[in-house]
């Protein structure tokens, strides 16, 4: 008898669950805008759900280096300087204006008046000083970006009066203002930092357009409108929810049903279908990235400049773009995209020319080719949607000139570790810029100081190094651009990589979403986003 009851219970559950399938989908999946928030005179902007691939690791931008974290904190915190809507030019943020001393070592910033943190406390010069002192007091593990961007450069941050801050530097830091605009340097409420201590990473309090409400790890972060936001009429939405949907196809499915309103990490192969669907639209993130094949300069035949140049001639970049990027990319000539000031237009790419490649190999004494490993990234990145397939295409290009490449792949953390230590012959990798400064591409990725760090190809050239250091120590923009242009010529000649592609990562949204502007750094501000009535 007991068991029969059990079976009946199972039957009940099953019938219930199947029965639910038949119910129509009115209650779920549709926007709540229009009904909610209609009291108290506040307009009803509705709830926007942003679908993304991974969760934040921290909601305190100062302690993280991850793009997924900044995506959220960009909407909670503001920086003293802000980037442009879709570029990395410097604009007023929490600082209204700024002044630089003639020797370039003193920067005086006038702060915006009447701005309040979400907890009701005032934003003022004391708060700015507090934040910088907090970052300065911490070590590298804690505040990575502060240490790497400002580290020993900032000598002192002083509150001159209620709304004026003065930075004194130890030496000139050319990208000082661009650095200030980076998401990690969002200004937090000193009271909240003191109150929450270790738990501040999950209790963020800033001055931005949205206030923090809830974080369910690995699932979603919910932000609500900051009613007292200083920018008139913003934000337009009542609520923003960042939802984690790890799988790209599943995320697109959720967009199709309206469970989410905007998604990032769209497969380039899905773009055509999205554009053909009247309910959906696509967005492109302006490129601030580079995908490359690193040619580890210390390994076997790759020690030879001519061999590296030959490999450069061998790769057909345009066919990669057509096959894997749905055309939303440009062939890379230099290690940084065109939008970065200092980009050298005059540098000519090694055109696709297998014959020339073979000739060079012959000159270098590798007439019969050689064997190398070709490492394929195991994870998709905006600049590299499918590492394995791109590797296969390059493998074929190499085979055409007699170079036998064996494709190798490791799990991601291992891949990075091994490549960093110079264990790969050739490896796919890429970089998305932090602040749109040439230093953030060229010095970080190709300076000899950064071997064992981000100079995975282990490229060494004293002349290039001198140019980089000179460019770091002047504030004269024109001079800096000249130095970087020179460096690019030398780098092209040395061919430490095959620069492959600058992609425009694709995003997609429901057709009724307006005002969304994808930012090149990957941190999108959602204050101006709204639903079409």
């Amino acid at each position: 008898m007991k068991r029969r009851f059990g079976l009946m219970f199972f039957a009940f559950i099953l019938i219930l669950s199947l029965g639910l399938a038949g119910c129509s989908n009115e209650s779920g999946g549709k926007k709540t805008g229009g009904e909610s928030g209609s009291d108290g005179g506040s307009s009803s902007g509705g709830t926007l759900v942003f679908g993304r691939g991974g969760d934040s690791t921290s909601l305190d931008p100062a302690v993280t280096t991850e793009g997924e974290a900044f995506k959220v904190t960009k909407n909670i915190y503001e920086t003293l300087i802000e980037f442009g809507e879709q570029d990395t030019e410097i604009n007023p943020g929490l600082a209204e204006s700024w002044e630089e001393s003639p020797d370039g070592l003193k920067h005086t910033l006038k702060l915006r008046k009447g701005v309040k943190f979400h907890d009701g406390t005032d934003f003022n010069a004391e708060a700015v000083v507090f934040n910088f002192e907090r970052w300065k007091a911490g070590n590298k593990e804690q505040f990575y970006y502060y240490n790497s961007q400002f580290g020993d450069v900032i000598k002192e941050v002083k509150a001159v009066d209620e709304h004026t801050v003065e930075f004194t530097l130890n030496r000139i830091l050319a990208p000082f203002y661009k650095n200030l605009a980076m998401s990690p340097f969002g200004i937090a409420s000193p009271d909240a930092v003191k109150e929450h201590g270790d738990k501040f990473i999950e209790n963020p309090v800033g001055t931005g357009p949205f206030k923090f409400k809830e974080w369910k790890r690995n699932d979603r972060v919910t932000l609500v409108k900051n009613e007292d936001y200083w920018k008139e009429g913003l934000p337009k939405l009542d609520e923003v929810i960042f939802r984690v949907i790890p799988e790209n196809s599943a995320r697109l499915n959720a967009l199709n049903t309206g469970e989410v309103d905007i998604i990032d990490g769209v497969n380039f192969s899905d773009v055509e279908a999205i554009e053909g669907n009247p309910d959906l639209q696509t967005f492109y993130r302006p490129s601030l990235n580079v995908a490359y094949l690193g040619l580890t300069n210390t390994r076997g035949p790759l020690k030879e400049k001519k061999v590296r140049q030959a490999l450069n001639y061998a790769v057909n970049k345009q066919s990669l773009i057509d096959a894997f990027y749905a055309g939303a990319a440009e062939p890379a000539i230099n290690p940084m995209p065109k939008s970065v000031a200092g980009y050298n237009d005059a540098v000519k790419d090694y055109e696709y020319n297998p014959e020339k490649a073979k000739e060079l190999l012959k000159e270098a004494g590798f007439e019969n080719g050689f064997e190398i490993e070709l490492w394929a990234m195991p994870v998709p990145r905006p600049y590299m949607p499918d590492g394995k397939k791109v590797a296969e295409a390059i493998q074929k290009d190499f085979a055409d000139i007699g170079v036998k490449a064996k494709i190798v792949s490791y799990e991601w953390a291992t891949y990075l570790e091994k490549a960093r230590m110079g264990e790969a012959d050739t490896f796919l990798l890429g970089w998305t810029g932090d602040n749109g400064d040439a230093d953030n591409f060229l010095y970080v990725l190709l300076d000899q100081d950064n071997i064992d760090s981000n100079n995975y190809a282990r490229y060494e050239n004293q002349e290039v190094h001198d140019l980089f250091i000179k460019a770091q120590s002047t504030n004269d923009q024109a001079e800096r651009e000249k130095l970087y242009k020179e460096a690019q010529v030398l780098i092209k000649e040395d061919a430490p990589w095959i620069p492959l592609i600058h992609s425009e990562p694709a995003l997609a949204g429901r057709a009724d979403v307006t005002g969304f502007k994808a930012h090149p750094t990957g941190s999108d501000e959602l204050a101006t986003v709204e639903f079409k009535k």
């Binding site: 199947l18 209650s27 790497s148 049903t257 064992d452 760090s453």
Partner: protein, 334 residues
């Protein structure tokens, strides 16, 4: 029975101890440096060295192991390297999410699997039998990844009956108390949300149920066939008992023991093996929690997560063992 239960429970201690040791070493055998992973591509050598020291990863392995074990015994599951929160407080919502999903999946698998097996045995070599066994074969070999995406495409996009992913409609979220959303919505009397939660459960539970369902159906069929050929069944039939009762009462009771074993094993597997389902349906469960931890070399989380799943696995099978005696009085424990 009582003495047996106690003995069984005590025998878990060396099992778990051995397990913790195996997990501890396997994790350290993974290449890759947690400090590098935490700090990311940008990190400098000094930063990595500093962090390694801070995390205690430069200590000899036995110190690390005993520190960990000592922590476990005092209820301190350690701190996640990545999120810096206590694992003991962090892990419950994930565990509850997975348990809820696995429970519903198992209910579906048992109901359909057992019945399909019984009917196949009852009408052996009929079209139903053939169809069910072919489906079962397809079921065990089905790639969950593909199945999940197809389910979403059909039931969510084309038919618009069910949501594609997640545990709830995020625009109208459930207030969590126990983190079992079915229970939470019932406690709060939110029938609208209960309906929503159940809708969200259907697709992932069906996907997760596919493999155990197929296995259960096949095992049930084969043991039922054996039992139904035995003498006492013939006698029961000869007495003129209705076939339905012969099958569902007399035969099933005798055939259920191997089925129960499989159910126990499969339930354990579901708890740990739901990673793919959790990924496709963005279910914030323990499988994904551990998976993310692996990507970040978050040793404490991986260790604790695997240990907890192993503990559940062992416990479920203990319960199954004890159930044997309850179901079949001929089984006695000494």
């Amino acid at each position: 029975m009582f003495a047996y239960s106690v003995r069984r429970i005590f025998s878990l201690v060396p099992v778990l101890l051995g397990l913790s040791l195996i997990v501890f070493f396997m994790i350290r055998a993974i290449p890759g440096d947690p400090a590098q992973v935490i700090l990311g591509q940008l990190a400098t050598k000094e930063a990595i060295a500093d962090l390694t020291r801070e995390l205690g990863l430069d200590q000899p392995w036995y110190i690390q192991y005993f520190n960990y074990l000592g922590g476990l015994l005092t209820g301190d599951l350690g701190q996640s390297l990545r999120t810096k929160s206590e694992i003991s407080s962090e892990i419950w919502p994930y565990l509850a999410a997975t348990m809820e999903l696995s429970f519903v999946a198992m209910m579906i698998a048992i109901f359909i699997g057992v019945n399909a097996g019984i009917i196949s045995a009852w009408f052996q070599n009929s079209w139903f039998d053939y169809a069910a066994m072919v489906l079962a074969l397809v079921g065990v070999s089905m790639p969950i990844f593909w199945l999940g995406l197809m389910e979403q495409w059909l039931f969510a996009i084309n038919l618009d009956w069910l949501p594609t992913s997640g545990r709830e409609e995020v625009r109208n979220p459930v207030e969590s108390i126990t983190n079992f959303y079915i229970i939470d919505t019932l406690i709060q009397g939110r029938t609208d949300q209960l309906l929503d939660v159940l809708k969200h459960l259907v697709l992932p539970a069906m996907a997760l149920a596919t493999i155990p369902m197929a296995i259960i159906a096949r095992i049930t069929r084969s043991t039922m066939l054996e039992v139904m050929r035995s003498d006492f069944i013939r006698t029961a039939r000869a007495k003129g008992l209705r076939m339905f009762w012969v099958v569902y009462k007399h035969s099933l009771k005798n055939a259920i023991i191997p089925v129960l074993t499989i159910i126990g094993l499969q339930t354990g597997l579901l708890l740990g093996g739901a990673i793919l389902t959790e990924t496709i349906f963005s279910w914030p469960g323990i499988g994904r929690y551990i998976y993310e931890a692996i990507n970040y070399r978050d040793y404490p989380v991986i260790q604790t997560g695997i240990l907890i799943i192993a503990l559940l696995f062992v416990l479920i099978n203990l319960v199954v063992d004890l159930l044997y005696a309850a179901i079949d009085p001929r089984i006695k424990y000494r």
